[in-house]
Structures are given as structure tokens and as C-alpha cells.
């Protein structure tokens, strides 16, 4: 029945058009919203964010003109330590899950545990870290406690992205390696991993962005105070030594929370806005870096 068919076709076409319009509107709205937030934050804080003395000087308790020098350093230092701990662990776990784990109850138990862990609210992770590391282990509010809290927060997400990256490598690559007489380990390390590496690096850097902006998990672990840092001090037991992992270390995100909830400095709004702008610039930079490095690495490893 040709007439019927064409009617159907017209209807399908109309539906297609309507759906396209609706989806475009929704997407447009979301993009607009995100852009508006970012522009608002940047517009309000950019003046401070590009001011070198704001970026390097110490915060003030009572008078105006405080900076975010230690917070900025703490954020990066905590991030680096967190990644140093969580990346190898996650990589190992993901390789195990993707390449070795037999399909049995234990494996699916582990996978479920990771899922649950990754949906844990970060404040819960923070309180867990508070009880275990700060109180039980007696480490106090410290970079060590904070880094481990962030590790707990980061590992499930990282394991998942790495595992997905490994699993997205076509099975025929694995077969190719094994059929050449390579062991499973050689195949994983030399064939699967390089192929998945761009996606892994992208995942790693994106997770770095999340860790960098995390506040709730740190409030009760790395603490809310930022002792002034002296970069000439290499005494690892001194509170002003930047590298000392037993000192409290307020980060940018925690700083924003802190001054907004209990700050008393007269210029707290300007400080808060400036800090937020710095934070968002860093996270944007992570994202751009992720894309760039992912592509570069992909080209390098695959000769493409």
C-alpha cells in the first residue's frame, strides 16, 4: 500500500524533526546554563585571579587584602600525592578486572563494591577519613589524611574509567598478541595498555579535576587551616615546610567553603570570588590538558 507507506514516512519525518528540535533546545539550554555559570564566576573573580599578590600571599584572618598562596599550593600538592597513591592502585585493579578476573561471584562482588564506593557522598568519605585517619591513626588534620580521603574518593572512579578504557580495546588486538606467542601479561602491557593509554590519561586528568575541586571530603581530613609556608624550609617535621605531609592543609575549595561559612574578613566576597575563579580556571586547564595530552599520546603510541 504505497499511500500508507508514504503517510508513515511523513509521520516519521515529522517525529524526527520534532525530536531534533526538542533535543537541540534542551542541549542549548544546558550549554547556556553552564556557560552562564562559568562566565559569571570568571567575571566576578578574574580581577583577583590574575593578581600575582593574591595568588602568592597568605590569607588574612581579620583584615582585608589576604591571598590564597598556601591554598593554591596545598591544592596541587594534595592532588599530586593523591594521584601518586591512587593511580597505580587503580591501574592494577582495573587491569585485573579487565584482563584477568574470572567471571564469578567474587569478581562481580568487587565490581559492585566499586560501584557503591563511587556513589558514596564525599562528605561520608570525609567523615570516614576523619574517624580512621585523623582520630584512630592519630594523624590529625593533615595532608596524609586528606590524600587518603581523596584516594578513597578517587579510586572507584578511576578504576572504572581505566577499566572501560581497557575493555574498549577490541578483542582482536588481544588475540593478535596471544597468537604471536605472547603471554597475557605481555599482551596487556605492550598491546592493550598503549592502545588504551590516551583514554586512560584523559580519565586520569579529568579525575584530577574532580579531586582538585573536592571540598567535603577534605574539611574533616586535610583540615581548614593553612599555615603560612616557607619554601626555604626543608625540615619535614615543621608546619611551615611545604612538603611536610603531617601538617594541616586547607585547599582552594575548602577555603571557599570556609570563608563563606565563618569568614570575618571585610573583603570576604572578593576573596571568595577570586578563589572560585582560580579554581575554575585550573579545572578548565585540566580539561584542556586532558584533551591535548590524550591526542598527543595517542599519536605517539600508535604511530598514527
Amino acid at each position: 500500500m504505497p499511500s500508507n507507506l508514504s503517510e508513515r514516512a511523513i509521520k516519521a519525518k515529522r517525529q524526527d524533526k520534532t525530536a531534533t528540535v526538542i533535543i537541540s533546545v534542551i542541549v542549548g539550554f544546558i550549554i547556556l546554563l553552564l556557560a552562564a555559570i562559568i562566565i559569571y564566576i570568571l567575571a566576578k573573580g578574574i580581577g583577583k585571579a590574575v593578581d600575582p599578590s593574591f595568588l602568592t600571599s597568605n590569607p588574612q584572618q581579620f583584615k582585608e587584602g589576604g591571598g590564597i598562596g598556601p591554598e593554591l599550593f596545598n591544592s596541587f600538592y594534595l592532588l599530586v600525592i593523591t594521584l601518586i597513591i591512587s593511580f597505580p592502585l587503580s591501574l592494577g585493579a582495573a587491569i585485573f578486572l579487565a584482563e584477568y578476573a574470572p567471571a564469578n561471584a567474587v569478581t562481580s562482588g568487587i565490581k559492585t563494591a566499586i560501584e557503591v564506593l563511587s556513589s558514596l557522598p564525599s562528605i561520608v568519605v570525609g567523615l570516614f577519613a576523619f574517624l580512621l585517619f585523623v582520630i584512630q591513626m592519630g594523624w590529625g588534620f593533615s595532608i596524609a589524611s586528606g590524600a587518603l580521603a581523596l584516594t578513597v574518593f578517587n579510586i572507584p572512579l578511576l578504576v572504572r574509567t581505566i577499566q572501560q578504557a581497557l575493555e574498549s580495546v577490541p578483542a582482536h588486538q588481544r588475540d593478535a598478541g596471544l597468537a604471536m606467542g605472547l603471554t597475557r601479561w605481555e599482551t596487556t602491557i605492550h598491546i592493550i595498555l598503549p592502545t588504551a593509554m590516551p583514554a586512560i590519561v584523559t580519565g586520569l586528568i579529568l579525575s584530577a579535576g574532580r579531586v582538585f575541586g573536592e571540598a567535603a571530603a577534605l574539611i574533616y581530613s586535610a583540615g581548614q587551616s593553612a599555615p603560612a609556608l616557607d619554601f626555604t624550609n626543608f625540615d619535614l617535621s615543621s608546619a611551615s615546610c611545604p612538603w611536610n605531609i603531617w601538617r594541616p592543609a586547607e585547599t582552594l575549595a575548602v577555603h571557599i567553603w570556609k570563608i563563606n561559612s565563618e569568614g570575618v574578613v571585610p573583603d570576604l566576597e572578593a576573596v571568595s570570588d577570586g578563589t572560585a575563579a582560580v579554581l575554575i580556571i585550573c579545572v578548565l586547564a585540566f580539561n584542556l590538558l586532558a584533551r591535548f595530552l590524550g591526542k598527543r599520546l595517542g599519536k605517539k603510541l600508535t604511530a598514527e
Binding site: 567471571a103 593478535a176 596471544l178 597468537a179 606467542g181 605492550h190 604511530a303
Partner: protein, 278 residues
């Protein structure tokens, strides 16, 4: 434990070995006796297949989809062991030694029994590294030897002239047919005595297919046993000396290709070749 000799020492005698094989072109190199395969313990995908493979001969495995050709092929280099819950029963003899036992050195076996897959699957590396990589992993460090082998393998796979100026380019910049020949070259670089091919031309156009077929014949002329699964009856006729017809997990009939194609003993073979099913 079975040992086929150290990988490196085996690979170092390349030149002579090919010559050796040319002298002894006949003789069984691999043999299976009552080989069966079970997936998930219960499902028997293959039953009691006994076949002989001779040096320098091309054997075609044909049969309708799902009859177990690939499953059988993957027994010959024990690749089925990489599939969880897949069990190989029966006996497989390579150089007269039974290899279907638990602790056999599959890694050595697979350097001697190479495999080419249906989808061309070069590594995501340069053309050169696709071949050099396997050699390096098997302990060969001599750069001159590696260069030489890259060239020799690519020539044997009839790819050298097309790629000699872009060896450092990605393998994925090649066409499908070229990629498949690269995979063949990669397999040949390890000097296998047997090459298994699972529908190597199914993704290729007729011209690329012919190129691969010429390669198959020239590999076989060097004394290598080639075992090829194909859905293309004409291809089986063109390249193979022997043909084995598989049906529903059984090997129904085997013999000289000319015989099978003109005067099969089994009615099921005749029906398949007449295109009545499959």
C-alpha cells in the same frame, strides 16, 4: 613439560630453516586424533575430528556457518584455551608429540603455529614495529637481523613494494587488504611451520583476495602447512590441496580437493558444494 627449543635459537636459524623445509616438503607436521571442543562444560561444539596436515600443503576447512571450523582451527594453536570455559578434548600431535596437555608451552607453540584472523588486526603501531615487536618480545635484539626479517616477511607477504617507503607509518594507514598482508607478514616473521587462517579474505575485495591467495600458495611452496577456513568454495578450489568438510560439529569428509569437489563420497558434502544449503 614440553619444550620446542628456545625461541631465540629457533628464530636465529631462519634462513637455513626455510631451505630445510623445502627439502622435506612432504610429511605430516600436525595431526589431530578425536579432537572435540566443549564450551561451558556441556555444549559440545566439535566432536571427534581426526585430520592430518602435511608440510607444504594447503588444507581448506569448509562447511556451513556454526559448524565448528573456527573452533577446530583454534585447537591447533591452543587458542581455545584463552576462552574461559572452553575445553579441548582429544589428542593433537605436533612433530609427532602430543601437545594437548595442561602445562604445554603454548607460547613456543604459537610461534611455530601462526594465526591470521578474519578481521585484519595489526597492532596499533608502525608497519615496521608490527613485525619487529614480536621478534623483540621473543628475545631477538640484533637490529640487523630484525631489519632483515621485516623486509623478508613483507616480501613473502607480497607487501614490501607497497610499504617500503613508509615503514614508520601507522599500520592503520593501510587498506584492508594491505593490513591483512601485514598480519600475514607478522606471522611469517616468526618462521612458523604452520599458518592457520580463519576466513582471511572475508573482509576483502576480489583483487585483494587474489593477492592473499597468491601469498598463500607461495608460503606453502616454502614448505609451510597452511590451514585455511573459508566460506568461498571457489577459493578453496583455487588454493587448497586438501579439503575437509565440516557439518554440525563433525568432520564429515576429507580428501584431495579435486576429489571432494568432483566426486564427494558423502551426500551432505555434495549438497553443500551444490549450494543446496550453507
Amino acid at each position: 613439560m614440553m619444550n620446542f627449543g628456545s625461541k631465540a635459537s629457533k628464530l636465529e636459524v631462519v634462513g637455513d630453516k626455510v631451505a630445510d623445509l623445502n627439502v622435506t616438503v612432504d610429511g605430516t607436521i600436525m595431526r589431530t586424533k578425536d579432537v572435540g571442543v566443549r564450551y561451558n562444560e556441556t555444549y559440545k561444539a566439535l566432536r571427534d575430528v581426526s585430520l592430518n596436515f602435511d608440510r607444504g600443503q594447503v588444507t581448506a576447512l569448509i562447511g556451513p556457518s556454526g559448524c565448528g571450523k573456527s573452533t577446530y582451527l583454534r585447537c591447533l594453536n591452543l587458542m581455545n584455551r584463552e576462552i574461559p570455559h572452553c575445553h579441548i578434548d582429544g589428542e593433537i600431535y605436533f612433530h609427532g608429540k602430543q601437545i594437548n596437555f595442561k602445562d604445554v608451552n603454548v607460547y613456543d607453540l604459537r610461534t611455530q603455529v601462526g594465526m591470521v584472523f578474519q578481521t585484519p588486526n595489526p597492532f596499533r603501531k608502525s608497519i615496521y614495529d608490527n613485525i619487529a615487536f614480536g621478534l623483540k618480545k621473543h628475545g631477538i635484539k640484533d637490529k640487523a637481523y630484525i631489519d632483515e626479517t621485516v623486509e623478508r616477511s613483507l616480501k613473502q607477504a607480497a607487501l614490501w613494494d607497497e610499504v617500503k617507503d613508509k615503514l614508520k607509518k601507522s599500520a592503520y594507514a593501510l587498506s584492508g587488504g594491505q593490513r591483512q598482508r601485514l598480519c600475514i607478514a607478522r606471522t611469517l616473521s616468526l618462521n612458523p611451520e604452520i599458518v592457520l587462517m580463519d576466513e582471511p579474505c572475508s573482509a576483502l575485495d576480489p583483487i585483494a583476495t587474489r593477492a592473499i591467495e597468491r601469498t598463500i600458495l607461495s608460503i606453502a611452496s616454502r614448505g609451510i602447512a597452511v590451514i585455511i577456513v573459508t566460506h568461498n568454495i571457489e577459493q578453496a578450489r583455487r588454493v587448497s590441496d586438501k579439503t575437509a568438510y565440516f557439518y554440525l560439529g563433525e568432520m564429515v569428509e576429507t580428501g584431495d580437493t579435486s576429489k571432494i569437489f568432483t566426486n564427494p563420497d558423502d551426500q551432505r558434502t555434495a549438497d553443500y558444494l551444490d549450494g543446496r544449503f550453507g
